[in-house]
Amino acid sequence: SVPAASETTDLSHLINKLLAAGKADHKYVEFDFLINGQFLRMPLVTHMEMENISTEEVVEIEYVEKYMAPQPEECIFHDDWISSVQATEEWILTGCYDQTARIWSLEGKSIMTIAGHTEVVKDVAWVKQDSLSCLLLSASMDQTVLLWEWNVEKNKVKALHCCRGHAGSVDSIAVDCTRTKFCSGSWDKMLKIWSAVPTDEEDEMEEAANRPRKKQKTEQLGLTRTPLATLSGHTEAVSSVLWSDAEEICSASWDHTIKLWDAETGDLKSTLTGNKVFNSVSYSPLCRRLASGSTDRHIRLWDPRSKDGSLVLLSLTSHTGWVTSVKWSPTHEHQLISGSLDNIVKLWDTRSCKAPLYDLAAHEDKVLCVDWTEAGLLLSGGADNKLYCYRYPATASDVGA
């Protein structure tokens, strides 16, 4: 039995002693403790009182290795506000308010500047990479999405296609898991699905026959491409889109709803209704939850499969301003990061919903975008023209005895 007033450090010592008793060369490790899926953040007795756990029964406490703080690695300076960031194992792609998208190495060296848009670039996405060339997308306020091919060796970039069709600023794009299609959401309240496969000039049979053929080839912007499908249903601007499944698209909008669409048929599958404008959504296939950031300070977790109108599973509150972007961890089913207008990026574990695990307060101005790579890199870009990178070791959820 454990004294009631013990805190995490005391319990940590206890576990360490037990482990040291078993193994001679056990090194001291900080542990974090979970009771009923909730992190222990205060003395045991207070926690149990709050959660109404009776002291009569046996209480199981899980111990996990304590998550270390993300270590700041790089700070990359841009010329203007950073509207979006997406990183892979080797490269970082950022979209900037100076109408360009840029590619950086993980060390912070500028590799490439992609200019072509006539307006601010609002969102960027990688389509596919291999060692020779990579395909990437940039969406802009000039109502177009450009598909670029980047030749890694020669370090040259070429615009393959210019996707026209939107009647308003394209605020968000998402590439599906097969990497052949992408979806875009815009201020004209529509979602459009496009093909992400580059085609040559002669060969336009890939597009559906009944689409009007536009053979315009502007020198810089590549062939014009029209959407495969348009999904309409939102009554206000679409702020964020993502692919939650192979044929399922999830879109969040200023009309306070998150809608789930069937990409094949173009039908609306279900709607989750909230109270506030949604700024950003992120989906985790590990825990099958949607996290949304809204124009109030809360991050809400939803179950996309729920049939009811609105079921907020959990609400994470710590920010003091709008939450502009959220992103789940690709490896850990309980962790996510969020960026907000209060200049702070917070790392959350959903098991501890009252306070984030860590606050990364490095930005001096609004945080506009965040990203989390599989390799354990956290990125955040903001209105102070800086992109910060943090190293956070990728851990799957550990469960001790």
Binding site: W81, D188, D296, W322, A383
Partner: protein, 623 residues
């Protein structure tokens, strides 16, 4: 004596002698005779020649005078016998005349009172002596019939409750008895303590200094009215000199000192607060500051938002107009206009992308080139497709196409006025707009039509200094606010429809509900007048607010003020109750600069957000 009469044995002498019958003897008063005898000769009265003297003598001397009477029949004097005198005496006493009459004879029963063995009659009793009386039955049935017919009303049974007389039923509470009820008893006298003892403990005796202090004090402010004394024994205690004085004072307290109950007003302070709906029920409304749009270097006087809600335009005293992206506070464009910007207005028609900006003496129509390329391209085309009419029209203003340099910045048309323009506002459809010039003539308000590039002056006469104008969102009404009144004109009929009396000295701004039936006027003397257009020309409610108030917006109405705080008012229209303007939240954020705080406020067209522009050069978004 009668000579010829032979007395009959049966008839007394007197009867024979009465020969006249039963007549009043006064008839024979004057005659010397009374009657006639059988021979027909007069019977003369006895001569009476006695005079007064003789009669007197006779009275004195005659012993039988008292029993001598004159017989009327014959006129002779008769001496009454003893029995006759006795009779007279008995009659005078009131007894019976007859001597032998006994008025007290014993009663002789007709029938004896004793019960005899034989009845008086042997008649058997009638049936009617056993059965109820038939006569009575008949009488009763007649009575019943009469009662049934209502001729006789039966008497109500008397109520046997004892009746009391309530002495105090009609008492006047203000009377003396009422005063007795309000009796506030005098405070009780202090019970004697140790100081009053004839041999108090030494600590109760005053020392020299205390005695001096006691003497110097005013009698009214002394704690003890006396100096505690110490005596050897009770016998030595003298009379208390102040005894009567103290009793007198006590009596004064009792009857002279006015005592009154303190009437505490039992008003629950909660009742005074009007029952406003809870702010929670009126959500959603903006509560906190979300974004700050920084960029202007001087006070930001005016704001306008695009109908889609994506772009915000602000005009400032630093002679620039800035276009902002609402959701990120990014300044997309800055347009230097070369003069202080008093008013901006974004065209409310979503298909036309134009902003009207008032800069000093001109109104610029600017295409901000934000948003859908097709739209603003179409707007440009629309503007270019204008064909000037054949004949020259006389216009109060000049419509000038923008120069190349201005065109590149976005300006498309410049409308030159003759004086400084104060305000510009669009009509709901987006073709007409009105501008207000700070002048005092009839040329203050001008209505312009963009598609025809035509301006007109709708008013012939100036009715006062026009503060601001507004178009009705749905109907063809035009509101002109002068310093004290708001006039409503019907544009189709071209006449004045109504004159709204705001009870304010100086109206500063006006806003209309998008439904079109409520108007709020704000004034510099911190009043908000709320008019219901269908109701009357007088304000439905007059509210007090601190500082200058501005207003305006879809769905809700709000007010900015001269102090840095923004107060968000909500028009709560519950169909069950009267519509209310409920102050809901005070939004803080702006910094007080040059004694001015918030200069303009605006609502987002679709979201419950409020923009406010201030003298500190920022525009703030509250959500």
């Amino acid at each position: 004596p009668c000579p010829a009469l032979t007395p009959l044995p049966s008839a007394p002498l007197q009867d024979i002698r009465n020969t006249v019958g039963n007549i009043p003897m006064e008839w024979y008063q004057d005659f010397p005779h009374i009657g006639y005898n059988l021979e027909g000769k007069r019977i003369y009265k006895p001569i009476r020649n006695k005079d007064e003297l003789d009669m007197f003598l006779e009275k004195m001397e005659n012993p039988d005078y008292w029993r001598t009477v004159q017989d009327k029949m014959t006129g002779a004097d008769i001496k009454l016998t003893d029995e006759q005198v006795d009779l007279v005496h008995r009659l005078q006493k009131g007894q019976f005349g007859d001597v032998h009459f006994n008025p007290y004879e014993p009663a002789v029963d007709f029938f004896t009172h004793e019960v005899m063995i034989h009845p008086v009659t042997n008649r058997p009793a009638d049936k009617r002596s056993f059965i109820p009386s038939l006569i009575e039955k008949e009488k009763v049935s007649k009575l019943v019939h009469a009662i049934k017919m209502g001729w006789i009303k039966p008497r109500k049974p008397k109520d046997d409750t004892p009746t009391y007389y309530d002495l105090w039923a009609h008492e006047d509470p203000n009377s003396i008895l009422g005063r007795h009820k309000m009796h506030v008893p005098a405070p009780k006298m202090k019970l004697p303590g140790h100081e009053e003892s004839y041999n108090p403990p030494p600590e109760y005796l005053l020392s020299e200094e205390e005695k001096l202090a006691w003497e110097q004090q005013e009698p009214a402010e002394r704690k003890l009215n006396f100096v505690p004394q110490q005596y050897r024994c009770l016998r030595a205690v003298p009379a208390y000199s102040r005894f009567i004085h103290e009793r007198f004072e006590r009596c004064l307290d009792l009857y002279l000192c006015p005592r009154q109950r303190k009437m505490r007003v039992n008003v629950d302070p909660e009742d005074l607060i009007p029952k406003l709906p809870k702010p929670r029920d009126l959500q959603p409304f903006p509560t906190t500051q979300a974004l700050v749009y920084r960029g202007h270097t001087s006070l930001v006087r005016c704001l306008s938002i695009s109908p889609s809600g994506q772009w915000l335009v602000s005009g400032s005293d630093d002679c620039t107009v800035r276009f902002w992206e609402v959701c990120t506070a990014r300044c997309m464009k800055t347009l230097p206009v070369g003069g202080v910007v008093k008013s901006v207005a974004w065209n409310p028609n979503p298909t036309i992308c134009l902003v009207a900006i008032c800069v000093e003496q001109s109104v610029l129509l600017v295409n901000p080139c934000l948003g859908d390329k097709l739209l603003y391209g179409a707007t440009d085309q629309l503007l270019e497709s204008y064909v000037a009419p054949e004949e020259e029209r006389v216009q109060p203003v000049q419509w000038v196409m923008a120069t190349m340099e201005e065109h590149s910045k976005g300006v498309r048309l410049v409308i030159q006025h003759s004086k400084a323009v104060k305000q510009v506002t669009w009509h709901g459809k987006g073709d007409y707009f009105a501008s207000v010039v700070s002048d005092n003539s009839n040329m203050q308000v001008l209505i312009h039509q963009t598609s025809k590039r035509w301006s007109q002056n709708p008013f012939r006469k100036s009715k006062g200094l026009v503060q601001c104008v507004l178009f009705h969102p749905i109907r063809p009404y035009f509101f002109v606010a002068t310093q004290r009144y708001v006039r409503v004109y019907n544009l189709l009929k071209q006449e004045l429809t109504k004159k709204l009396m705001t009870n304010c000295k100086w109206v500063s701004s006006m806003a209309i509900h998008p439904g079109g039936d409520n108007i709020i006027c704000g004034s510099y003397d911190s009043k908000l007048a709320w008019f219901d257009l269908d109701l009357s020309t007088r304000p439905y409610q007059l509210l007090r607010a601190c500082g200058v108030t501005l207003g305006g917006t879809p769905g809700r109405l709000e007010g900015g003020s001269q102090s840095p705080a923004l107060t968000c008012l909500l028009h709560h229209s519950d169909l069950l109750q009267n519509p209310l303007l409920v102050p809901v939240k005070v939004l803080k954020g702006h910094v007080l600069t040059l004694d001015l705080g918030v200069l303009d406020v605006l609502f987002h067209p679709t979201q419950p957000w409020v923009f406010s522009s201030g003298a500190d050069g920022t525009v703030r978004l509250y959500t």
